[in-house]
């Protein structure tokens, strides 16, 4: 890296997948979902992200397939544009500039040149449904300002609007009203639930709506868990509705199947309910989907459903209610209490995710690796339930041990605490529960840390708690003649004048343990557990504590509540320096002496990188985020970078990730986010998207045969030949527009030729013949050449001609040989 771009804050993955309904492609092969400013294209079969469509400059709020061309996708965004994409190649085709914030997008088959969007009018909570006429123009960017008003006073969420039965009407719900607008009559009917008017705390407000694809029937979901099916709503007086009730909490989303025979509903219970024939008794369930169902969508082909969940996950479900694929993003729990950690074995980012689980998230591939179930109890998702929460976790002994703390507090006096210690099992490549400790402390555990030394014969864990004690747990040999077993037992209990223990930290060599008791830092000898010395700066409670590393291991750093950062020298037992800095996050780099501190001010968060030996920071970046930064972590790089400038040297061996209060995961990088993302093979996608025509089957078979052939022959060929020789010929044929192709008679012979070649070379005994053939061909090469060039000139397309010329040079020779050969195989075909 020669010249260095400035370091910027970059959002790195982990964006929301469940913001809007996912959309299936026409053939159900791909699924699209909005993800922040991007649209992600996933394969439904492999769960892989095949494309990321970027172009919007603000949150994408809606996506719909183009009904006229199912290989195109419309999207709208808060930046006021509607964009048309070719999702196969990931190309932006067109941009329509509307000019106001767009909150949802609807497209009808009937209205070819116009789309429907929801826009915000004056008041913050009042939305309108308008139709936008998309002007026909060849230019890339088109202004689309022709708006016509359809419905007023609607809900922002696209779940509350549905177009029904051949787009004759549109239904919208808000609060206690269902409004239906008929396009033909251009009238609006409004229905109210009778009971809702007089009761003050009625829970039957509308939450979502769906329209039957074939009949005049509207399904609406309600806050109290009921689903109402409205019929005969053409008449303001004679309308009827029936009720379906299974959900005990709010119905989050509804969807009709393509034929309209079944209705899908989901909610907080995390159970997908399928109502057959709109009957109360005919229902099927898919339970335990893990988290609240936010959205349900149905593929146009009707073979797949998908549900988006509040834990940032999309589940693709087969028609017979079997989950077939899970697309899982970074789970963003309500609060990240465990902080960010790095698993030393997989180098994955670890934090609490799904309720009761610890998630291992790969930063490189922006993908969740796996979930470790810590609490191991049935998760009941209900409003107002106090759940067991995973509050602390720590890795120790190079990833061989994992300690987790879970708690549940119902009342002030009733605290349930449990500490679990997990051992890494090499055979199963996962963590196995080793020891479970009930009530390790009498009050909340504030910190836990392992002693990570090289010679860890006795793995040691320290927990600090609000009950004024810190406890040292050691691994003991619990084996007898019947079994070999290890377990953790309490070795030492320490306290200091009954102050609450707030932090604990081992020095790098493991010889010293620092425990902070409110304002006081105590240093303990880890061999004998004797109190060595205490430090106190009288500047408020210690919030962060860490030892210096490597050459700076004689320093101890502490950040206090009142915004003072202190550095003590352990040799002289004196304060080395202190600085006024309101530190929120303090993280030591495992590969260097550097320590990153993030301070919080009223304007935003600032980053300081410094060495404990000198109070002057190495690097300062102001205003890294407007919100409060909650956690940070250094991730060692696989390949060290080589920034030469002094300011960026701290990024050479590690990368710094941090998590803000709104749970966006950010990092510092010099590259643009596009570069960071793993490139996806576009060629692969093009190959994959070939339509399955009879022609394809011939080619497919042909290619399979080739594969077999090359498996049989030597391995060198296997690597080189199949792609370079034959595939270009076929793909050239298929990818060239029809009007520029040479005449069919010319191509036909070429194609058959290429097909035959493989059959010829397949048989092993003919290989020597081939060689001979080559030689004899070379002798009469010249006249062959001439013949061929003449033909090419006939086609009037030199560009293509050159290609054909190059590709079929040898094949033409073959062809000539085949003219002499018996053609009886044609009959066999």
């Amino acid at each position: 890296m020669g010249e260095e771009a400035s370091v910027r804050v970059v959002r790195c993955g982990g964006s929301e997948l469940n913001f809007r309904r996912a959309v299936f492609s026409a053939d159900s092969k791909y699924i699209f979902c909005v993800s922040g400013d991007f649209i992600k294209v996933y394969s439904t079969a492999t769960e892989e992200c095949v494309h990321i469509l970027h172009g919007h400059r603000n949150l994408v709020t809606g996506i719909q397939l183009n009904p006229n061309n199912h290989l195109q996708l419309y999207s709208c965004s808060l930046d006021g544009t509607i964009k048309l994409w070719d999702y196969i190649d990931g190309i932006l085709i067109k941009t329509f500039i509307v000019g106001c914030k767009l909150h949802a997008l609807f497209i009808l088959t009937r209205a070819e040149d116009s789309v429907f969007v929801t826009v915000n009018k004056e008041e913050p909570d009042v939305f309108q449904l308008v139709s936008v006429k998309l002007p026909k123009s060849s230019s890339q960017e088109v202004e689309a300002k022709e708006l016509s008003f359809v419905l007023d006073y609607i809900n922002q969420s696209p779940k509350c609007i549905a177009f029904g039965n051949e787009a004759e009407y549109v239904a919208a719900v808000r609060d206690f009203y269902l409004s239906v607008y008929f396009f033909k009559k251009k009238t609006t009917s409004r229905f109210t639930l009778s009971s809702s008017k007089n009761k003050k705390h009625a829970r039957n407000n509308f939450t979502c709506v769906a329209c039957h694809p074939k009949e005049d029937c509207i399904a609406s979901g309600h806050m109290d868990g009921k689903i109402r099916l409205w019929r005969n709503f053409n008449d303001d007086k004679k309308y009827i509705y029936t009720c379906l009730h299974w959900h005990h909490d709010m119905v989050m989303d509804l969807a009709f199947s393509v034929t309209g025979t079944s209705l899908l509903s989901g909610g907080r219970e995390s159970v997908l309910v399928e109502w057959r024939d709109a009957m109360e008794k005919n229902k099927e369930f898919l339970p335990r989907l893990g988290a609240t169902i936010e959205h349900i969508s149905v593929s146009p082909a009707g073979d797949l459903f998908c549900t988006s969940h509040s834990d940032n996950k999309i589940i693709v479900i087969h028609r017979n209610l079997e989950a077939s694929a899970v697309i899982q993003g970074l789970v963003k729990d309500r609060s990240i209490s465990t902080g960010l950690m790095i698993d030393p074995k997989t180098k994955a980012l670890v934090l609490n995710g799904k309720p009761g689980h610890l998630q291992f998230y790969s930063l490189q591939s922006d993908k969740q690796l796996y979930n470790l179930d810590i609490i191991q109890q049935e998760y009941i998702n209900d409003y107002g339930l106090i759940q067991i929460e995973l509050t602390k976790a720590a890795f120790g002994c190079f990833g061989n041990w994992l300690a987790t703390v879970e708690q549940r507090q119902e009342k002030e006096t009733e605290l349930e605490l449990q500490m679990k210690l997990w051992m890494y099992n090499k055979k199963t490549q996962g963590f196995v529960l080793n020891t479970r400790i009930n009530m390790p402390h009498e009050d909340h555990i504030t910190a836990l840390c392992f002693c990570n030394t090289e010679k860890s014969e006795h793995p040691t864990l320290v927990t600090a708690s609000k009950d004024g004690h810190f406890k040292v747990w050691i691994l003991t040999d619990d084996s007898d003649i019947y079994k070999n077993a290890v377990g953790w037992t309490c070795d030492f209990v320490g306290s200091y004048h009954k102050y609450q223990a707030t932090n604990c930290c081992f020095s790098e060599d493991g010889s010293l343990l620092a425990v902070s008791f409110e304002e006081i830092v105590t240093i303990w000898d880890s061999e004998t557990w004797e109190l060595k010395c205490t430090f106190c700066h009288r500047a408020g409670k210690i919030t962060r504590l860490c030892f210096g590393r490597l050459t700076c291991s004689k320093y101890l750093l502490g950040a206090t509540e009142n915004g003072i950062l202190c550095c003590w020298n352990l040799l002289s037992c004196a304060l080395e320096w202190s600085a006024k800095l309101n530190v929120r996050v303090m993280e030591p780099d495992p590969n260097s002496e550097n320590i990153a501190a993030i301070s919080q001010s009223s304007v935003g968060s600032d980053l300081f990188v410094f060495k404990p030996s000198e109070p002057r920071p190495l690097y300062i970046q102001k205003n890294i985020s407007r919100e409060e930064v909650q956690w940070g972590v250094f991730v060692p790089r696989d390949v060290p970078e080589s920034f030469t400038s002094e300011a960026y040297q701290w990024l050479n061996r590690s990368q710094f990730y941090f998590l803000t209060k709104s749970q966006s995961l950010l990092t510092f990088s010099t590259k643009s986010p596009e570069e960071k993302l793993t490139p996806t093979s576009k060629q692969l996608l093009a190959e994959e998207s070939l339509p399955t025509t009879p022609f394809y089957f011939i080619l497919g078979k042909h290619r399979q045969q080739q594969g077999e052939k090359f498996n049989e022959t030597s391995e060198n060929e296997l690597v080189q030949l199949p792609l370079t020789e034959n595939i270009p010929a076929i793909s050239e044929l298929l990818h060239t527009p029809a009007h520029v192709l040479p005449s069919a008679t010319f191509l036909c012979s070429m194609l058959i030729n290429s097909l035959l070649l493989s059959k010829e070379t397949k048989s092993a005994e003919e290989i020597p013949d081939d060689v001979d053939m080559e030689e004899e061909k070379e002798s009469d090469d010249s006249d062959e050449e001439n013949d061929f060039t003449e033909e090419v000139q006939d086609t009037n397309n030199t560009d293509l001609g050159v290609d054909i010329h190059q590709l079929s040079k040898s094949e033409e020779k073959e062809l000539r040989k085949f003219r002499k050969i018996d053609y009886s195989w044609v009959a066999a075909l």
Partner: protein, 499 residues
Amino acid sequence: MAGYKPAAIQTYPVLGEKITQDTLYWNNYKPPYNYAVTASSRIHIYGRYSQEPIKTFSRFKDTAYCATFRQDGRLIVAGSEDGGVQLFDISGRAPLRQFEGHTKAVHTVDFTADKYHVVSGADDYTVKLWDIPNSKEILTFKEHSDYVRCGCASKLNPDLFITGSYDHTVKMFDARTNKSVLSVEHGQPVESVLLFPSGGLLVSSGGRYVKVWDMLKGGQLLVSLRNHHKTVTCLCLSSSGQRLLSGSLDRKVKVYSTTSYKVVHSFDYAASILSLALAHEDETIIVGMTNGILSVKHRKSEAKKDSLPKRRRPAYRTFIKGKNYMKQRDDILINRPAKKHLELYDRDLKNFRISKALDRVLEPTCTLKTPEITVSIIKELNRRGVLANALAGRDEKEISRVLNFLIRNLSQPRFAPVLINAAEIIIDIYLPVIGQSPVVDKKFLLLQGLVEKEIDYQRELLETLGMMDMLFATMKRKESNSVLEHTSDGFLENKKIES
């Protein structure tokens, strides 16, 4: 998606002795049948099952020692205080042979492996080998320098035998060489010696030590065990050779594993133990004690399976059907996930039948045997926020069942937090109908009394703790592990409302 996760049942460490397969084996002895042996100059032979002597030899002038059966069980030999060694036929009454030669008390006798010789050791420091057919002395060894009190002949080699003496040595003699071939220094007066069936290992006991020697390595000390705190007087091997037993004056018999030499079990007796023997197949353990009592314990036979007419279950082959089917070439193997077994209460919980689940764990079989399951289910219901629903709507009989459980377990510290919460809910629910059933009212009063007693007790404990703290403070030492459970104040208030 992920299957149903069963409710977590809290397990508690079993206090006291650890239950292992060894404790089960050795605990399987029936209660001891103690009875006295009166005559010191007699040998009583007891039947296997009757507790009466079936035969008595009483031709001794003085105290008899170390009666030993020959391997085939037809002859018995014993030493005597007056220095004589007498050999009896098991069916006869008069001594078959009398070996005269020792000048002092003979404390140890044994048959050699060829059955035709007898080895004896005496307090005159000599060890003698006798020939049974001729009733003559063959050899005399005078190598010990103190009383010879124990000995043992090899079971493999007719010429080898060992003796232990109060001169702290154990010597191995070979009848072919006229002198000892091996000598090991035990360090204390040797009270008992034992050879392993293979002859390779020698066990000696003396003082508080049991020592194991490797004979094949020339008498190298293999392991020294110090598990008794008084002199170890006797040793014995179990029939399988897997366990070694030692009896001691500290009134304990310890069982060791012979692979790791760790204590796997321990018997307690009423008095100091002088002798110890195990019957064939470990069926009986017999211990002689200083108070003159002989303790005999029979082991319950394991094979006593109840042959009740069982419900006919599907045959074994139904379960393994298709398990060993080999995949053919074109077959597609579809693995069906193993069906997870769920407990009955878990099945109810899975289907949200909460009252049913609670009823199930309140059955007497569950509450008495495994109260922790009941408590865990109550805790789980509380976690799901449905405990009040599950407890409500019960009739007199059902509520008294719940109250019975509370009364029995409320004061247990490990169950207290969960059960106090449940008790509060019950009081809240059933407060309006109090006074309708005298049975339930009585139970409530009982519960109240229990809680008051517990509070008093806790207060007393706190006072004691305060006193101890003061004492420790004066001694400049800190107490680290004081466990104290707190009864919640909220509960106290509720009780008052209820009463």
